[in-house]
Structures are given as structure tokens and as C-alpha cells.
């Protein structure tokens, strides 16, 4: 990404642009799974990277900006879902509908699993996605969510049990 602002330290621009090129798509996918809304997912990810760029100079550890931006995406999705549940997403925001691509390309069984994940409470949903979509370890998940490793283990176990229950109810 280029910028017209020549005052921007080039290392921040280059680092954030490279990080976006490498991880942006995967993070948009994560947000789409969480939100079920492509446009909202893209907004959350863009905001996360803009936040990283804005705060680059104040980052404690610029060697691992992915951890920062990943946590921002998770938080952004949580905020978006909270706004949606409060009905404050704006007059023109359409309710999330399953995309045509998802309907065409993803089996009914898998779509049911994703739908069940979206029905979980925020923490359990995030734990599942960080652990099984992003393949993060329990420690990494704990750091990204700002909780203990024990909380991650417990939330994971409960989330998987809940998914099983939801799918059984709907079958």
C-alpha cells in the first residue's frame, strides 16, 4: 500500500502492507466465519490493520505485529456482533445472509457446523476459530484473547460439546 503522506515512516508502511498481503486474506476469512457478512468482515480487518499502522510507533513488540492485528480482528468481530445484537449497525446495513459462494461451494453439513459456531457465545466461538481455523496453540489462543490457558481449555471443551448438541437438535 502506498500513501500520499510522505511523512509516514517507510518501515511502518512496508511492514503493514507486507503483513496485510501475507495474512489479510486469512483474517478476512476468519472474520467472515465469525460474522457471516463479507463487507463487515473486510471492514473489521481493514480497521485492524489501520489501527496497527496508526499505533506502529507505540507497539511494544514490532517483531510480532501479527499477534496485535489478530487480536484486533477478534475484538473487532466481537464489537460488530455486539452492535448487531443491539440493532445499532445503521439503517442501511442489510442482515447478514449466507453468500452465494458459500451456498454453492460449501456442503450443507459444513454450513450447518459454521451456523452452529455462530450461535455460540462470543468467547467459545473465538476459541474454536483460533484453535481450529487458525491452528493456534492453547498458549497462543490464551494470549490473543487475554485469558488464561485453563480458560481456553474449558471454553474449547464446552464449545465442542455445544456444537454437538446444536447439530443433534437440528438433525
Amino acid at each position: 500500500m502506498d500513501t500520499a503522506n510522505t511523512d509516514v515512516p517507510p518501515q511502518a508502511t512496508h511492514a503493514v502492507t507486507a503483513l496485510y498481503a501475507e495474512h489479510g486474506l486469512r483474517l478476512v476469512r476468519l472474520a467472515v466465519i465469525m460474522l457471516g457478512d463479507r463487507a463487515a468482515a473486510e471492514d473489521v480487518v481493514q480497521d485492524a490493520f489501520l489501527g496497527l499502522y496508526r499505533r506502529w510507533d507505540s507497539l511494544a513488540d514490532t517483531s510480532n505485529p501479527l499477534a496485535y492485528v489478530r487480536a484486533s480482528v477478534v475484538n473487532g468481530c466481537r464489537s460488530a456482533l455486539r452492535r448487531r445484537s443491539r440493532g445499532t449497525v445503521g439503517l442501511f446495513t442489510e442482515p447478514p445472509a449466507e453468500s452465494a459462494e458459500a451456498r454453492a461451494l460449501v456442503s450443507e453439513e459444513y454450513r450447518a457446523v459454521v451456523a452452529a459456531i455462530r450461535r455460540l457465545p462470543a468467547r467459545r466461538r473465538e476459541v474454536l476459530l483460533l484453535r481450529y481455523y487458525l491452528d493456534m496453540t492453547e498458549d497462543e489462543t490464551a494470549r490473543a484473547m487475554g485469558v488464561s490457558r485453563g480458560a481456553v481449555k474449558s471454553a474449547t471443551s464446552r464449545a465442542l460439546a455445544a456444537i454437538g448438541r446444536i447439530l443433534k437438535e437440528e438433525s
Partner: protein, 457 residues
Amino acid sequence: MTPAERVVRAATRAYGETVTELRPLDLTAAAKPGERHVRPRRRRRFPGWLAPVAAAAAVVALAISLVIVRNIPARPAPASGGVPRYYAALVPQPPQGFQNKLTVGDALTGARLATLTPARGYSFSVVTAAADDRTFVVAAQPIYDGAADKRFPARTWYLLRITPGTSSQVRLTRLPTLPDLKGAHLLAVALSGSGREIAVGFIPDYATSPQSPVQLRVYSVTTGNLERAWSTSDQTVFGGPGRDTAGNGPPTTALTWVDDDRALAFPTISAASDPRTHQDVMYETVRLLDMSAGGGDLIADSRVIWSTQRESVPVNDQHGQLSCVNNLSILPMLTADGKTIVCAAIKSPNPQGTITAPGPQTLAWLAYSTSAPTVARTLAQVTVDAPKWTSPAIDLQWTDSSGGTLIGTWTIEGASIGFIDPNPAPTYRPHWGVIADGKFRPLTTMGDLNLYRAIAW
């Protein structure tokens, strides 16, 4: 890993894979790094008794907003001096210029609002504007083997919205429903004045069937639905496929919406030998296609509203009278009111049959009334004395709805060295100007936009 864990992993991955492309990142929307981000003061929650009032207000706001959305002005909204304020330009990147970025700017203040980079491995290839001075549609094509991939002239489409005064002034949103035009040779793209429809002229399967009929299709921007379609075996429409755009995208003047989006206008360029003089004669026309009429034949269902011709001159094509047909690289354009043709022309002082030598040349922007199509009116002209081995060039980027005000450029083109120079010597920088009242007034706010492949206003 348990079966449940395996299912969660497989399901989320399968779902995630449905997203295959990434919206370009616009870092200009962010404050500078290190700059303190001031959180807006949190408003007090309103008391419960205000909820019905708020709900009623929301309904009113929705109604007002819908009225606004339905009434995007079909006429240009002049910012200053009768020209639109915002532009979007495809800017090639040095050194080879294989990739075009998208520069969004404010011609009133000279500010660059954003420079957007396409997704990795892509180049922006098309830009077209609505009449509201805020809405654009852009397309991107892949880069293959170090050059624009002609198999996909416009693979991915985006809606570009400018919202001045907001934290994110420039917003690019993917338009996933518009076709990817795989294998087509793209000849013309035009967003309607309202921004609701996009017209696309192309030759399908051009690599394998270059003589395929030319298609003109109109799609809904929001749904991607095909609304109208025409075709013709006459390949002279939109200037013809011989115009090698070489990564520049289709010319922004090859197709224009007129008469409040009720009609489309497009040029044709053809050549034929005069049996009497045995000279090639160039014919240039502008045709008008009434959207309300039925039919699907682009030629039979449209009519010629302006035409001109001239005998080609073997050595010096630019000699003679000032005429649109002197400069076939700039397509003539019908104004939105349907009454005037505008174009850009060059006249050399050299006598017929001599090689162009250094010396002053006249560059002019011309207008023809469709009611008196043979009489050219000079809107403005400049005289350029180009150095040896260089030549002047003229361009027309925008016209208002009546042809009273235009935006154009003139440039001295030097010998190409095959690389993009982002900072050309002053001699070779484009001179931007507003053409009105018989004068070419420099548009100094275009600043250092020295290189661009296409620009839409």
C-alpha cells in the same frame, strides 16, 4: 484430534475458502503512525422515554435517506469553475509500469485522498465515474509474466465511494456480481450518471475468435443483473479493436451515457479507399442508442448523429484544418444533453507531404453542434513549439453536460526509453487545464499527477 475437532476445522476451512480475494488496503485512511488517536467523547445514553421519539426520528431519517439515494444528481455536480472536484486515476508504477495503482484526488484543493494498491498480482485496469462527483467503478486485472494479463481485462470490479469529511474518505467495496470478462477484448466501459448501471463494450473470446461480434451489455451495478444487450459484427464501434490500449484500459470517451441515462453514445472509426482519388478516407461517426427502444442489434438500433471524414495524408496525418478526424487517438464524445460533440485536435503548419519538422503546432479542443455537424467551433487552443524529436499531444478527459466546460491536457511527448519516470522533466509534464470561455486555464491543483493511464471525473 477428535472427530468433532476435525469437523470444526474442515467446516471452517471450507467456509473460509469461499473468500478468494482481498480488498486493497488504504493506509491513507489512517492517522500518521505515532499520532494520538482521539476517541470521540462517549455520549450519554438517552433516557428510556425517548425511545419512541428516536424510533420515529429514525423512520424519518430513513425516508429522507432513501429520497437522497434515489436522487443522485444525473448532472455533474460542479465543485469549482464548473468542473467536478474529485477524480480517480490509474497511475503506472515505475520502473516498467506493469502495475497501475489508483490515485484518488481532490482537484479543488490539490489533495491526494488516497493511493490504492490492487491485490497482489493485480493491476487496476478500468476506471469510470458517475455524475455525482462521488461514485466511481474500477476494475482490476491480473498481471501475468510481467505484463497485464489480456485474458482478464477486468477480472475484479470495485465500487469506489468518496465521502468527504468522514474518517474514511475513500472506500473501495468489491462488486462480486459483475462479470469477469474472461477472454474478452474490452473496448469501452461507462458508468451511468446515476451510478446504477454500467455499460460494457467488448469482443468475447478475442484470442480464439477475434472476429466475434462486438457486444454491448448493460449491467446493474448492485445486482450484476444483465439489463440490456446488443451486438454487431461491425468492429468499427468504440473505435475498434485495433486500438491497442496496452494496459491503459479502454478509453473513457469510447462510450457515454446521455439524456439522463436514457441513451448511450459511441463512436465508430473506419477507413475505405476512395475509388476516384485512390486515397484512403477516414470516416468517424458518433451513434446514439436509445435505451428505451427494443432490439438487440447495435447498429440497426442506433442512429448516426454526427459524422466527419477526411482523406488520409500519406506522410503527415496531422496537417490540414483543425478537425476531430485529425486526431483519431482521441475519440469524439457526445455531451450529456445530446447536442454537442467535443473532441481534441492537432494541426501542424507543415505542408502536405512533408515530414513533421520542429515548429509550432496548434492544439485545440473543438465542438460541433449535432444540428450543424460540419461546422467546428474552437473552444480553446494552444500553440506548442515542441523540441526536435518530440511531438505535442492533446487529450480530452471530461466535458460538462453542454460542452461549455471541458477538462483537458496537452503534453510534449519525448522518446520513450521503456521505463516509467515518475518525475519527468518539466518539459514533458502534462499541462492540465479547464477549457471554458475560449481559454485554456491551467488547473494547477493537479500538481504532480504527471503519469496516468486513465482518469475519470
